[in-house]
Amino acid sequence: MELKFILESLLFSAQKPLSPSELREVFANAAEQEDADATVKSLKKIKEGELNAALEQLVKDHEAAGRSYRLACVAGSWQFVTQPEFSPWLKALVGVKARPGRLTQPSLETLAIIAYRQPLTRAEIEQIRGVSVDGVMQTLLERGLVEQTGRAEVVGRPSLYGTTPLFLEYFGLASLEGLPAADELRKIVVEKPPAPVTADAGLATNPPEQLQIPEGGDQKPTDAATQTS
């Protein structure tokens, strides 16, 4: 397997420009994988010189191919970029797919619940928000801010949702640890009723009572905020 093709596939799939040292890290990590074969292991400690030579070769390859994109090195990091003459359509593409303004309040709230409590089911989200989240979830899924991350091991095996890397990017967060007040809001769930788990379809965990906001005025809110530590 030619080194340049491996590099090409990496730069092709990376969501951000990669520096030579990041690329070397990928080779090192790949070799650590359980099922790493001889080829993968042999590239564990690829030399920076080899790497750069292969990258240069790639640049030449793509230049010669004369396609609508090329490989570029910007500020020491490598990425594929499209040729400028296609910008009228690319602008239109961004327009079509662009961030459509800011998120609405219901979307933000739902997103926040997912961000802090992931993974969780739609039913759990609705339990917390007290209203249906169908439309909102649709928006969030379409915008790639949340995704299905698996299925809850309860009756009906409902989908579990979590945030995507795009979510982090959108809000400029380095990781989920970077969520504001993360500790506090994550902790607020805590108390699980000691009662036996009668599988309530769609509820993977018990609803965090403290976050239930009553919808109807007559409805007494559940005893809020019992704190555990």
């Binding site: 926040a112 005025g217 809020a224």
Partner: protein
């Protein structure tokens, strides 16, 4: 013997077992000796009985079909019995072979799907770096996002921690709806409230969180708006001009707590 036991468990059904037997004979399905196949099949069923394995009904049905074919073949063609409902000239051997061929094809197709499934695990889509046009027009920031609010609440919590390191021992008595009333009350007499003011008297973390959730709920119900003049600046909370009366979330309250 023990080999059989293991084998039984992997057969998906009688057709699967028959295909296995045919494969073992190394003959084409069309050329298989059905009489011998019937004998082997029944041998397997007997073996399953000996091992006290549960024999699915489908296996027994197949065994009887095979017995029928076997007995039928012992007779000359003109004396072969016609099963009730069997079309004139229908041949049960042919019917079984047709079924086996069909099943075999789907089994092969399943294997191909399995190969596709394995391949797909290793196929990665291109997820490009976001196009740079986006930076040309940065999203305007007219409103305060929930994350700004969360940032703010985090700050409040931190302050609280500094003020009081001892853990609350008393039971928290705050509810979100009480806090909704509290916020509404504060705004009934004034045009706006600073975010931090809402938390000034908070005694515990849970109280802060309740107040915060109350705030979120009021925003959700479009009763309040938040505004922030600069990033990381103080957030101001105002009543929404259009609809002043808080409806849904507030539990029955004294009249004087209602906004006028």
């Amino acid at each position: 013997m023990s080999e059989y036991k293991v084998k039984f468990e992997v057969f998906e059904g009688p057709l699967d077992l028959l295909l296995y037997l045919i494969k073992k004979e190394e003959v084409d399905i069309y050329e298989v000796n059905l009489t011998r196949l019937a004998a082997q099949f029944i041998e397997y069923i007997e073996m399953m009985r000996e091992f006290d394995l549960e024999i699915a009904g489908e296996f027994l049905v197949m065994a009887s079909t095979l017995m029928y074919i076997k007995s039928r073949e012992l007779l000359p063609v003109d004396q072969q019995a016609q099963l009730e409902g069997e079309e004139d000239g229908a041949d049960p051997r042919w019917e079984l072979i047709r079924q086996l061929v069909e099943y075999k094809k789907f089994k092969d197709a399943a294997a191909q799907l399995q190969a596709l499934e394995a391949t797909q695990e290793n196929v990665f889509p291109r997820v490009p770096v976001k196009l740079e046009f986006e930076s040309e027009k940065p999203a305007p920031k007219p409103d305060v996002s929930i994350f700004d609010l969360l940032n703010a609440v985090n700050a409040v919590l931190k302050r609280l921690e500094k003020r009081d390191n001892t853990r609350d021992i008393f039971e928290d008595k705050w509810t979100v709806s009480e806090k909704i009333e509290y916020v509404v009350r504060m705004l009934s007499s004034r045009a706006s409230v600073r975010f931090s003011e809402l938390f000034e008297d908070a005694m515990s973390r849970s109280e802060v969180v309740c107040t915060f959730l109350a705030l979120l709920e009021l925003i959700r119900l479009k009763q309040l708006v938040c505004a922030q003049s600069e990033d990381f600046g103080e957030i101001e909370i105002k009543k929404r001009v259009a609809d002043v009366v808080v409806t849904a979330p507030v539990s029955p309250t004294e009249p004087d707590s209602q906004p006028q």
